[in-house]
């Protein structure tokens, strides 16, 4: 993958502050903020470059694009996982994963296409929304299972002598989301792992943070505002009344 923007103009302190909406006064308040620190957050990551793949083949990449987009699709509010380049992130995660984990995930990807072909006589990339829904419903049952299998790693024998165990991290994202129910089949495991990685890839992307969530923070504030009821006024944001 690439985030290269060879022709991009370097972000200067001035343009960065402009991006922030901060005036010249803010500069005086930032004695230690480095050029690079400012540039890093102001840098806009809008790459249309072709992916430079580390692990996935172009065909697999296309499947991952379709898969991640099916998990977080474009809608009227914002683009989905495909435009947010989550597939590139997946490729990077795979390239840095334990070989056994990577292998298992790739087996899952193959199994997904096999299941898709068996049921709908076509590969995953060519499924329509109804077909994807039917397939996902079957491989995500663990999410709504009545009594999810407790994670043995969290069933802490607090006062017992410790027993040696292998490392517990067994998903692409490490600890994140690994406690979501007990999962069994290869496809369930694959779906869970892919969904968690898609969530991370999407909601840490510029599209996910700014367009989809409309996150308002990480700005220079002279004073935090908060709920206006704190000031004794009815709050226009949440509709709560000031307390008498």
């Amino acid at each position: 993958m690439s985030t290269a923007r060879p022709n991009a103009r370097p972000v200067t302190r001035r343009t960065a502050l402009k991006t922030l909406g901060a005036g010249a006064g803010a500069v005086a308040l930032l004695p230690w903020l480095s050029e690079e620190g400012l540039a890093a957050f102001a840098e806009v990551q809008k790459t249309k470059a072709a992916p430079v793949l580390k692990v996935l083949t172009p065909a697999q990449y296309a499947t991952v694009e379709a898969l991640t987009e099916a998990i977080i699709p474009a809608d009227e509010r914002s683009p989905g996982a495909k435009v947010a380049r989550v597939a590139d992130y997946m490729d990077l995660l795979l390239s840095e994963a334990e070989p056994a984990l990577r292998q298992r995930w790739l087996e899952g990807l193959t199994a997904l296409d096999a299941e898709s072909s068996k049921r709908f006589a076509r590969p995953f990339v060519r499924l329509d929304v109804t077909q994807v829904d039917a397939l996902f419903a079957d491989i995500s049952r663990y999410e709504t299972a009545k009594a999810p299998v407790a994670d043995p790693a969290l069933d802490i024998p607090r006062n017992e002598e410790p027993r040696p165990k292998p490392p517990q991290v067994d998903t692409l994202l490490g600890d994140v989301g690994r406690h979501a129910g007990g999962r069994k089949t290869l496809l369930e495991e694959f779906f869970a792992d892919t969904k968690q990685a898609t969530i991370h890839g999407y909601y840490t992307s510029e599209i996910g943070i700014h367009q989809e969530l409309r996150y308002k923070g990480n700005k220079i504030l002279l004073e935090f505002v908060g709920c206006e009821t704190v000031e004794g006024r009815d709050c226009p944001h949440c509709g709560q009344k000031a307390e008498a």
């Binding site: 993958m1 690439s2 985030t3 290269a4 308040l29 930032l30 004695p31 230690w32 903020l33 480095s34 690079e36 620190g37 957050f41 840098e43 998990i71 977080i72 699709p73 809608d75 992130y89 990077l92 840095e96 929304v129 829904d133 995500s140 709504t144 969290l154 069933d155 802490i156 607090r158 006062n159 410790p162 040696p164 165990k165 490392p167 517990q168 991290v169 490490g174 600890d175 991370h200 909601y203 840490t204 510029e206 943070i209 969530l213 996150y215 308002k216 923070g217 700005k219 504030l221 002279l222 004073e223 935090f224 505002v225 908060g226 709920c227 009821t229 709050c235 944001h237 949440c238 709560q240």
Partner: protein
């Protein structure tokens, strides 16, 4: 592919500066009155108090210097890196589930052989250059998530900033419930020093008049966001419970006494290090100003292995230092030694300081050095979604250095049938940059996406911190075989939660749930598992203070009973820890100890 800037932080200059300092500061290259071991909250405050009073100080830091202009990446977006703030592939942070199950030393696990650096759970993209490598810093014994940072300022570059005072309920806890012993001092002894710390460093908060968390001298407090206001209205209806603005060691109005620090700019994300140093970080708040007096010498890469005893006088002569890079061993001499390496490492240094006169370690005639290890148990937490915020346009909810706080309400005026002492909650709500709850949101597709979006502004989440009863059996000792990368014996933990902690943890989950339900929260989720021991990073007590040298290690001025010129600047002498986050008390107690030390130096006592 261009270099990933978030991975290529250039530390060459600061590393070279550190090596240069280490190479030029040698025994005999200067004359110092006091040696201070460590440069975090404890060592920083000790060095500052002494240097500004004209005492010549040598501060020994085990790690390198810090570049406070470049290393605090406060406003970096996750998409600045294709790796999205994850650790580089040759780094590995221990996961919560691994602490209780992996054999110790954690870093020795064969599965970790391929990593260059194995870090505690606190290791992340922003802290990875500060926290220690578990491979070089092993521990043995029972599970313990010991977070250490070897760099100028120690853990203060990424601390949680919660600044709460101990009060009479902590200093005289034993008198109230009959368990264990009181501190030999009272709140009135320390209150003036808390006031001074508030004024020197800046503290944000509100006066509430609560006995369990005495008021301080506060700068502009943090307001509540919309989700929190609704939650607060429910919490405050419970007798004895209050949802108050967090109190934090961050200057929100600015301070006039320090040219390295600016006031808070409301970005949040202070745990990466605050690049304008509004948050208290020892390097800019204490060490650099102390060095500017000309009275402080800082030697980085100085791993202290032991305190050296002068056999003829029975006093400490200085400390033995192993240079972290060259492994050169050298003895630095001074009139006084102040230990501020952190509760556990200070204790380890003394346990390793064996001599004919002190066969069990320096200052350990009582045999209690290393005993009474305590901290705060954590884990039980609750979350839910405030209905009036569901589907709302997100507001700017996290531009604050701290989240709200629910002070201890158990065993304050009433008596709980199941356990003694108590716990507090920290937490808050609203839209944070990363919607972590999405990982627990079922489904996929447009339904999933709009569910995350709908719940995003409405989250409310709180987690508890409970007192771990001090017990003699909870202790650290030197491991007979395992040594660290510098050949110093490592700590063996013998530390377990007792019935009181487990019952208290159950109550934490119950009260978290009842408050969330009272607020009308939807999708209430309660986690009841306790986190591994050590998670709070609030370790105290392994050199407890007291009047009687047979039952305590230090006197009420944090000085070893057995050695008249060795003092603690950190939390090792603390008798019990209440529920309060420890740093602000370390700063206040250290100031008090240094005032006593200065007086003793003036009168020639030391």
């Amino acid at each position: 592919m261009p270099a990933d800037k978030t991975l290529d932080l250039d530390l060459t200059a600061i590393t070279e500066e550190s090596r240069r300092l280490a190479a030029t500061i040698k025994p005999g290259s200067g004359k110092w009155d006091v040696i201070v071991v460590g440069t975090g909250a404890a060592g920083g405050m000790a060095a500052f108090q002494l240097a500004t009073a004209g005492v010549k100080v040598l501060a020994l830091e085990a790690g390198r210097m810090i570049d406070h202009r470049a290393e605090y990446r406060t406003m970096e977006w996750p998409y600045a890196s294709p790796r999205r703030s994850r650790l580089p592939p040759d780094h590995r942070a221990l996961a919560v589930a691994e602490y209780n199950f992996l054999d110790r030393p954690y870093g020795n696990n064969p599965a970790f052989a391929k990593y260059k650096k194995v870090e505690s759970y606190a290791g992340n993209s922003f802290t990875r250059n500060w926290v220690v490598n578990e491979k070089e810093h092993p521990t043995t014994g029972t599970p313990y998530s010991w977070v250490r940072a070897r760099v100028l300022g120690g853990k203060t570059s990424f601390w949680g900033r919660v600044a709460i005072r101990y009060g009479p309920l902590q200093f005289k806890a034993a008198s109230r419930d009959g368990y264990d012993v009181d501190w030999p001092i009272d709140y009135d002894d320390v209150a003036p020093y808390y006031d001074k710390v508030d004024m020197l460093l800046g503290c944000s908060g509100t006066k509430e008049g609560l006995v369990q968390v005495p008021d301080g001298i506060y700068q502009r407090p943090m307001k509540f966001n919309c989700a929190e206001v609704q939650f607060k209205r429910a919490v405050d209806k419970f007798p004895g419970r209050r949802f108050i603005p967090g109190r934090c060691g961050v200057t929100t109005d600015g301070i006039l006494n320090n040219r390295y620090r600016s006031r808070c700019l409301g970005r949040g994300r202070c745990g990466r290090g605050c690049d304008v140093n509004a948050a208290f970080h020892s390097p800019t708040a204490l060490i650099l100003p102390a060095r500017d007096t000309g009275n402080l010498t800082v030697r980085p890469y100085s791993v202290v292995s032991e305190v050296i005893l002068d056999e003829t006088t029975g006093r400490a002569a200085g400390v033995r230092v192993i240079d972290a890079n060259t492994k050169e061993v050298m003895d630095f001499k001074a009139r006084v030694v102040v230990l501020g390496a952190g509760t556990l490492d200070s204790t380890r240094i003394l346990l390793n300081s064996r001599s004919a006169r002190h066969p069990q370690g320096l200052g350990n005639a009582s045999g209690l050095l290393g005993c009474y290890l305590s901290e705060h148990h954590m884990g039980p937490r609750g979350s839910g979604f405030i209905p009036t915020r569901l589907g709302a346009e997100p507001t700017l909810d996290d531009g604050r250095p701290t989240a709200p706080y629910i002070p201890r309400f158990r065993n304050v005026t009433d008596k709980h049938p199941d356990f003694i002492r108590g716990y507090h909650f920290q937490g808050g709500g609203g839209a944070f940059e990363y919607p972590a709850f999405a990982h627990d949101t079922p489904g996929w597709g447009k339904g999933f996406k709009s569910s995350v979006r709908k719940h995003y502004p409405a989250l409310i989440s709180i987690g508890g911190f409970g007192e771990v009863l001090p017990k003699k059996e909870n202790r650290v000792s030197l491991d007979a075989e395992v040594k660290d990368a510098w050949g110093i014996p490592v700590l063996r933990f013998d530390y377990r939660f007792s019935d009181n902690e487990i019952k208290m943890a159950k109550d934490m989950g119950d009260t978290a749930e009842e408050m969330l339900r009272a607020a009308g929260a939807e999708d209430v989720k309660i986690d009841r598992e306790m986190l591994p021991p050590g998670w709070s990073i609030h370790e105290i007590g392994t050199a407890r203070m007291g009047e009687d040298p047979r039952t305590s290690v230090t006197n009420k001025h944090c000085r070893l009973h057995d050695v008249p010129n060795v003092f603690f600047a950190d939390a090792a002498p603390f008798v019990s820890g209440g529920t309060q986050n420890t740093t602000w008390s370390i700063l206040a107690m250290c100031w008090r100890t240094m005032d006593h030390l200065k007086e003793q130096m003036r009168t020639g006592e030391v």
